[in-house]
């Protein structure tokens, strides 16, 4: 198990750094940071001075190296746009996004799992068909549009939830429903397929013949195996939620990492965007790492892989 964990951890770190390298080169290829700092219509000499001052005239690979060295020292760089250390910015905005992502995953789970169980217990029933076709439809609804429809509904017609800002728990309810429902189809389909497979296996037949019925059969025998793939998908979805929170945060005016990302992009603030790409990739990689470990812990066969 330790050996397996170590191998996975090395791979995860490697991936996170490759991603940050790619992001660094892509962003620097996309735009010239010296011109952004100098502002529009700046004299060429001014741009040149800034380029030398900030070290933008060095080869990209060396710039990346110094960015990495800073990262190792705990220095995440300075934002040109916000005129603040990037670390401070990220820490300031992180709590909102973390709360949003966690609540969204909770919404996904409480909608997707019961639906999947009910659908799998009666395959091809009316409920099963309805659940599946709702999933197909839900996948075609743009996230931000659903958010706006919620705002129209809940601000005008039935004003129960606040629709803008992040000052209280209630402010997170609508955004997390919008963000959470977007991954219901994937999680539901996967749980349903997994459960159907498990329910037709020999050991369930044995359990049934031993007298297990209904809820107990489901929780004690079937769900365990059916949830294996769901663990991985949930980790992936949680990672994606952090990444796609930018849309929902923008719609509901939450001041989280997504908002910070959007504003930094529009301000062409490479250090912040670069750091956010790295942080999101890192979180994603860590989540996948944890879900791999969790799966290996549940199913020892995986440890050999």
């Amino acid at each position: 198990m330790l050996r397996y964990a170590f191998k996975r951890a090395v791979l995860a770190l490697l991936v996170a750094f490759t991603v940050s390298l790619v992001a660094f080169f892509l962003l620097n290829f996309a735009t010239d940071p010296a011109e952004i700092i100098a502002g529009e219509d700046a004299e060429p000499e001014v741009v040149e001075t800034i380029r030398e001052q900030y070290g933008f005239n060095r080869p990209l690979i060396i710039q990346y190296g110094s960015w990495l060295a800073g990262l190792a020292r705990g220095d995440w760089g300075e934002s040109y746009y916000w005129r603040k250390p990037v670390a401070e910015l990220v820490l300031e905005h992180a709590p909102v996004t973390i709360q949003l992502a966690l609540m969204a995953v909770f919404v996904t789970l409480i909608v997707a799992i019961p639906l999947a169980v009910m659908a799998a217990l009666r395959p091809n029933s009316l409920l099963d068909r309805m659940a599946l076709s709702t999933a197909v439809m839900a996948q075609a609804v743009p996230n931000f549009w659903l958010g706006l429809i919620f705002i129209i509904l809940f601000a005008v017609t039935i004003p129960i939830f606040p629709v803008s800002g992040d000052s209280s728990f209630a402010h997170f309810i609508l955004p997390s429903i919008v963000l959470g429902t977007s991954s219901v189809p994937a999680v539901m389909r996967l749980t349903r397929t997994g459960l159907l497979e498990v329910l037709s296996s020999d050991y369930i037949r044995t359990a049934k013949s031993k007298g297990y019925r209904g809820f107990k059969l489901l929780t004690r025998h079937a769900m365990r195996n059916a949830l294996l793939p769901v663990v991985s998908v949930l980790a992936i979805q949680l990672g994606h939620k952090l990444g796609s929170s930018v849309v929902v945060e923008s719609v509901f005016a939450l001041n989280g990492l997504g908002r910070l990302a959007l504003d930094s992009i529009i301000g062409s603030d490479i250090p912040t965007v670069q750091m956010l790409v790295f942080v999101f990739a890192m979180v994603f990689v860590v989540l996948i790492f944890l879900s791999d470990l969790l799966n290996a812990w549940i199913d020892p066969r995986l440890r050999l892989g």
């Binding site: 791979l11 197909v136 931000f144 796609s244 849309v247 990302a261």
Partner: protein, 306 residues
Amino acid sequence: MEKRHEIADHSAASADEVPEELTPRLLMKRRMFRHKGFLLGTGLLFLLVLLAIFAPLIAPFDPFDQVLSRRLLPPVWAEGGGWEHLLGTDHLGRDYLSRLLYGARMSLIIGLGAATVGCVIGVTLGVCAGYFGGRIDQVIGYLLTCQLALPGLLLAMSLVFMIGPSVPVVISVIGLLHWTYYLVVTRAATMQIKQLDYIAAARTLGSSHSQIIIYEILPNLLNQIIVIFTLEIGIAVLAEAALSFLGVGIQPPIPSWGLMIAEGKNAMYYRPWLVILPGIAIFIMVISTNLMGDGLRDVTAPDNRS
């Protein structure tokens, strides 16, 4: 579903004496015309393509024409709406129906373009990984892991906005970030096909690797590639809508559904149609490609549905 199995088994078992109308191709056509989701999706998509192509002929107004005296008119079924502007006008007095029609063009161009870019990258990598295996497979597998860890939307937003938001840039960036699905599927399929006898036969006849890949393997992957291509169109349409909505995709005054929602947002409390209509348009576009893609998968490979 069991019935279909019977038909398929029958045709496989007695391939020599099946009457002409039971060739696999005809069986596929039959399944196609029986698959309701596929028919609905294809029909809707066909309609959307027609509307997009003939937008200049159908649209009652120029989508860029601003008439400031006729701003924010409601659609015909709402109070105060008129027949002249069927779906009303936006905040600059532009005819909403015309803008929606031209928006279909934008969505389709970007969807098709981005799906093509992703297809070229993903299929190339997938076939290489599956065919050559070994080191090459490992490297490509590592690439895939990295791509999955990338925060796609965030990177797409920054790249599009910083390079300069234009249609070709949006297409390339979305395509560049959506190739993993092609890779996973073509890799697995290539690994299976590689084992078949006819590939060994081609090898013995002296075909080179590239000849085998192009003439022997790719034609056999075509069905799967088309299925993914169709589904990826929908994904790209959603991605473009999100980018344009956030202000880092298609820029005004070009009509794009995502952008129209962003523009209508300010007036949405008293003119909700400005937000609702483009959303419905996106929904129809995406659901038609999804239904068509899912249907194609059922029709071409009824045995391995998940």
